[in-house]
Every structure is written in C-alpha cells, then in structure tokens.
Symmetry: C2
Subunit: 370 residues, 2 copies
Amino acid sequence: MDVTFDGQRLRAGREAREQFYDSRGYGRPRGGELELAPVEAAHLLFRGDIDSVRDQRESQNRLGFESLLASTAVSEVSFFVYKDLRDRGFYLSPARGSGDDTDRPSAQQPTGDADSEGAPGEFVVYPRGQGPWDDTVAYRVRAVSEREDVPARELRTLVERADSEGATAVLAVVDEESEVTYLELAAQGIEGATDHTLPSVQGTLLSDRVLVADPPAVLYERAFYGQQLDPEGQVQLSLVEAAYLADTGTLEVDESQEGDPVDRLRDRGRAVEGARFDRRLQVYSALRKAGVVPKTGFKFGADFRTYAEVTSVEELGHSELLVRVLPAEHVFAPRDLALDVRLAHGVRKRMVFALAGEGLSWLVAERLTP
Amino acid sequence: MDVTFDGQRLRAGREAREQFYDSRGYGRPRGGELELAPVEAAHLLFRGDIDSVRDQRESQNRLGFESLLASTAVSEVSFFVYKDLRDRGFYLSPARGSGDDTDRPSAQQPTGDADSEGAPGEFVVYPRGQGPWDDTVAYRVRAVSEREDVPARELRTLVERADSEGATAVLAVVDEESEVTYLELAAQGIEGATDHTLPSVQGTLLSDRVLVADPPAVLYERAFYGQQLDPEGQVQLSLVEAAYLADTGTLEVDESQEGDPVDRLRDRGRAVEGARFDRRLQVYSALRKAGVVPKTGFKFGADFRTYAEVTSVEELGHSELLVRVLPAEHVFAPRDLALDVRLAHGVRKRMVFALAGEGLSWLVAERLTP
C-alpha cells in the first residue's frame, strides 16, 4: 500500500480508505482517497498495518515508525495518548482547527495545519462503537507531557470547546513512563443552601485573626463562622471570615481605632499573603453568597473545604468540595494538578480550582477512566 | 499576685517562681524572681492562674488575656501552639536567642529580645515529665500561621539547631481554625543498594524522550531505566534518564547530529521546563549515584518516587520515598507542605524535599503527633 508524506499530512488511496477509515476510523476521506494525520500514520506503523511511508520531500525516502516519531511531524506525547485511547476501544481524530496552535508554550509541538490537525495534542474522541462518520463526540482530549506547564486559560478554552459539542473536556497527561492519566475538567457553578440571619458582632483584631469575646450563639453554632476558643466561650475568626463579615456590615472591629475596619482587616491580611489574601476573600465571599460555607482546607492542602448546607455545627455533614484559589493567569504544572485531584479523591471530595481575576470562574477536576 | 509587664517581658516575685516555674515549668528564674515571656503569661491568663498583669508603660493599666493577645508582644499563632503543647502534657519555653528574628518575613511577629525570647514563634519542648530545669530537649518547634510562607533556608536552620541539641525539628502550622498540625523535619542522606553494570546503548531523540530500539535486557529489566513500549521490545527513556545515561557514557544519541549529546538532551529538557530540568537532573543523578532508583512520581504529584534496592523489575518492591525537587531558595507555603506530606503518608511513603542549588540538601517531612 502506497502512503505518501509531504511533511505535514499523509495520503493513501481507495484501498486504505476502505481498510482504515470505513472499518476503523483512521483519517479523513478526501475525494475517494484517504488523508491521515501523522499521529494516525504513526499508530498504523506501530501496529504493522502499514510497513512504511514514502517521504515526498527527501528523494522518496521511506519512513518507519521510529523515524516518523523522531520527526517533528508528530509528538510522542500525542502518540501515547492516541495509542492508549485506541487500546481502550475508542476511535478518535486530531481536533479540527481550534486556532490556538500559535500561542502554545512548547517549541516541540508539530506546527501542523490548523484546518486538518487542530490544536497540537488535541483530539476528539467518539463514543465507543462510533467514529468520525457519526456526529457525537464523547471527549475532547488535550494531551500534554508531565513536564509541560498548562495555562489555566487554555484549560478553560478546552472546556468551552467541549461544552459546545456536548463532550467532556479531558486533560491527558503522559508521564515519564509514558503512562497516561486522564483528568476530567468542567466549568461549574457552585450552589449551596445555607441560610441564616446574624446580629451585629464586636471583635478585637489580633495579629492573625479576630477575637469575638462575647459572640451570639448563632455566629458559630448555626452560621459556622470561626472556631470556639473554649466550649461556649470566645470565638476566633480568621481574617478572611472577619473581612467578609465586616464588609457585609455584621462585624465591628475595634471602634476606637481609625480607618475603615474592612481596610484594616485587608491590610492585615495582605501583610502576610499579599494579593493572595484579596483572591481568597473574593472566593470566600462568592462561596458564602452562593449559600456555601467555606472553612479552611489546610489539612487537605487546599484553601477551603466547603459545606453546601449548614443548619448547625452539631449536625455538620461531610464537606463536599476542596477549593484551591488561584489567579486567573495561573499556569498549572500537571504534577500539582494530579496531586490535588488525587488527594481530593482520597478523601471523597471534589477538587475545584477558583480562578480569580476581574471575574471568578470555577474549574472542577476529577480523575477519569475513559 | 503582682505581675508586671514592660512591653517585652513580665516579672513576678518569689511566690510566682515557686508556683509557676518550680512546679509547672513556666518562665525563667532571675535572681529569686520569675521572668515570664508574653506567651507564657498569656497562657497563665487564659487558664485563670493569674487575673491580670500590670502594664508599667501605660499608667499602670491592667491587661487581661484578650488585651495581652491583642498587643504586639505575643502572636496568637505562638499562643495556640504553646497552649496545644501544654494541653498535650509538655512543658516548653520560648527558644533562647537564635538570632534569626531580624530577617523574618512577617511584620506581625513580636520583636522581643533575642536573648530571652529567641526566634519569634520558636520553642524548645522538653520530654514529658521534664522541664526547663533539665538539660534535655525533645522538640524544637517553630510555630507559623497557615497563611505565612516559610523559606526552605529557615527550615534547614531549624533542623540544624534541633540536631545540635539532640532534638527533633518540628514545624507547627496553625490553621485558620486554630488547629495545630505538626510536621517533623529532618536532614537526611539518601542511600540505596542498587548495583549493576550497563553496556553502551544507542538511542534516538524524540521530542520529549529517547527511544532505544534495540535495548540490552539489563537496561530495563535489571537497572530499571525507561519503560518498555511493548513487552520485550523498544524501551523509551525520559529525558532526565537519557541525560544521566549520556553523561555517564552509557548512552549514545543520534551520532549523525552535531554537538555534545548531553548538551542536546539538556537543551531539549530546558525547552519545556527551563532551569527545573537542570535541578531534576541534579537530583536524579545524586539519587542514582546513591544506589537509589528514581522513577517518575507523577501519580503522586511528586518529581520522583524511589526504590532503594532494585535487582529486577519483575521483583520490584514498594517505592519508599516521594521526592519533590525545589530550588534551594524555595519558599514553602504551609498548605503545599501539608498536602505533600499528607499524600505521601496516605500511600505509605516518606516525603523528601530535594533542595537543589550549588549543593544539594535533603529535607524529610512527616506528620507528627507529639
């Protein structure tokens, strides 16, 4: 079988179309012939379904699996993901022209043709038993190396594209042993059902928190603000809790001192954490306003753990989410993403990244076995 | 009982010395009297053992627990750790003059007197049943807030000081609910017993790894380099494995191309990871030279997991360590430290931070219940 390679894509005749596309979902028909992406040809070479391809550029040299993989046309990171999904029984195609292939951080990605190749390392995966001749997409998968950082912005774009085609967005991370870990990503609103009314409260600002010497019972026991210093006694509020309560008019702090109490609390928060404090306050406020109770997620390495419905601390259920607060321009290291998701899974919670900038967006990440 | 406060330390008479120092380890004798650190006085106030202290600076005002804690003399972070260790049955004292209290990042720490107060937030904890009148120190504890970043350098200094007095170094992190998490820190050499001899190997450089088309069996099966692409077939090496093997003269890569192969591999590694690749290679090489086999720790969110003794991949045991590679000047966020330690504990491994700079130092961190 004659398969030719022009440096970007591969072409084969009618026989290949019947054998590879019609029955197994490789490539795309072009007239009566078949066009293959380099990653698809690499897989056919790896399986031995084709022996070699003819390189039209270099005096008709023949390329085998190893030499195609060593060329810049296909990254082995994409190949491992392609192969793994094929091994799991899926048909898949390189994604069509997403147009984001110019601003990717890695210099080693194939440049490809946006129309035929799509974003480098991005695939559309069809439901099992379906293929490129159907209209349904099960997963939109982006393949990255364990070593390659991924901007949060690109993950949000991936989710948007997946949502628009009714698919699940997936980050497929190829580790240094070429094993693939799949992380499902979703944009999701947060909603809870916690509701209460608070009387006004007086507090004293300490260095790293606020002490409420004479708290109304509802503050801690029903609304779950702060922590009791001793049973039925004083309540200490974290700075982020205090800043939110001052901002909503519930908390008054050291009225003897000058300046707006919210500013004083913010300044104290920023003194240690800088802009991270503002982001945490932004996320804390959004969660509280959504009826969710955020408490520290320190024991889980997160900013917050959250309770969707608190009616009393005595009858507190299991917290559902772990929230990590990040700036909107954050760049994820796949290792850290995997760590967060793994830990959250281990404690039966969902991992949520709160991307705080001018607005706020939520990115939920979970392990996935396709 | 008359206890006076000059803004930095507190003094009380002979009666206090008998009642608080001799029988319960508070303070330090000065002549026949007792000198108390603010955190010790705060604890006595909290317990009701003293009612108030007399502030010598401000027209003999009397201070109670809340007003002492709200002053700059004592941080409530130190107080919560002091109280928690007391509740656990330990006697402890603020550390004497460690001299590092001038370059700490937080502006809210009491400045204190280096001779009497030691590093702010640093305590020496005596073995249970012992106290400041004995010579033994069980733990040297540094108290920090969940929100406060801690430079790796300061943790190394803490470990050195603890080692010099035969004590265990402990970072005590106070979370926003004022709960204390204890992390034991140790500087520790890494040693393994893996031993093998490798013949020279030929590889092809792909974009993100090296393919060895015809590997000697020992490469993967005995020395556990790389991963098999298919059983008994080609082996792919990660860039860090390949750079180490090229550096030690075992691996030859694409002899047709120009330039030193180690440089080419390093350049490829740096293209994606920058200086992080050099640090990972430095740590990988040190581990291999110590007889330990490092493999990717991706699934655990770490750089490497390690095997102390590999004789064959078929009989591979449990990996013992998770290694995270960091620059020597790294600043830890307590949340991330807690996350790493918690995950390592959950998979029955030890968490090791490799601090890579001009030299290399190891910091082992584990959960501790004092």
